[in-house]
């Protein structure tokens, strides 16, 4: 496996997000404050089953849960 983070279930998308966040936080303070707002994500979704609305969930939290699951699956496989 060429990338260690893949073993922890981290997706390439998440990898880019984390790397970009580190770059933004490294900027000088004036630029940093402007740039850091680009890293914020606030997106929610709900799943509809049999015509009924499910519980709204945050995409970020759902992705975290999916990564933990992917890591566990990767280890047992």
């Amino acid at each position: 496996m060429p990338f260690a983070w893949k073993a922890a279930g981290i997706t390439y998308n998440r990898y880019l997000t984390v790397a970009a966040r580190a770059v933004r936080r490294s900027l000088k303070d004036d630029k940093r404050l402007v740039a850091e707002r680009r890293g914020e994500t606030d997106l929610r979704f709900t799943k509809w089953t049999n015509g009924k609305q499910g519980e709204p969930r945050s995409v970020v939290e759902a992705n975290q849960a999916a990564m933990v699951e992917a890591a566990g699956g990767g280890q047992s496989a």
Binding site: A8, G9, I10, L16, A19, A22, R24, L27
Partner: protein
């Protein structure tokens, strides 16, 4: 008889062979030795199809320099320094957070990244503070994902610290 025909064929063939270079027309002398660079971030285009001489990129497969007429290829970029050498020999350096470089045919190079800034926009103090923080998380006993993310941050920050010096 047969040899005569061959000789005549050769005679006939020669004038056209001589004429061929004279008939050549086109822009061959004007072929550009520049590469068209587009360096784009989601929120900004740093270069928009600009003519440059050479671009050095930190690909996952190793550092590489891209000149005009490079073989088409797609390269994943490490978080690192992209150097653009412009006409006249001046060069610009940008630290990119990672993305893709696509060398297209006809000397076109597209680089996509999430974040990219000139070196003078970075604060060495902020980098140092983040490194010690990320090291704490990486060596702590958080979740597997937290540790992996801290290691990604360390990769970015150490690369950044190395070029800031």
């Amino acid at each position: 008889m047969n040899s005569l025909r061959v000789a005549r064929a050769a005679l006939r063939a020669r004038p056209s062979a001589i004429r061929a270079p004279l008939q050549r027309r086109g822009y061959a002398e004007a072929v550009s030795d520049k590469i068209k660079l587009s360096l784009s971030l989601p929120h900004q285009a740093i270069f928009k199809s600009a003519d440059v001489v050479q671009v050095n990129i930190p690909a996952e497969s190793g550092e590489m320099g891209v000149l005009a007429n490079h073989v088409p290829s797609i390269e994943q970029l490490k978080p690192g320094l992209v150097e653009v050498i412009e006409e006249g020999g001046s060069s610009k350096q940008f630290f990119l957070s990672g993305g893709f470089a696509i060398v297209q045919p006809n000397s076109v190079l597209s680089i996509n990244a999430v974040e990219g800034y000139s070196l003078e926009d970075f604060s060495a103090d902020n980098v140092r503070a983040q490194i010690s923080e990320a090291q704490k998380v990486a060596n702590g006993n958080g979740s597997e994902q937290d540790i992996a993310e801290a290691k990604i941050e360390l990769e970015v920050l150490e690369s950044l610290q190395a070029v800031l010096k």
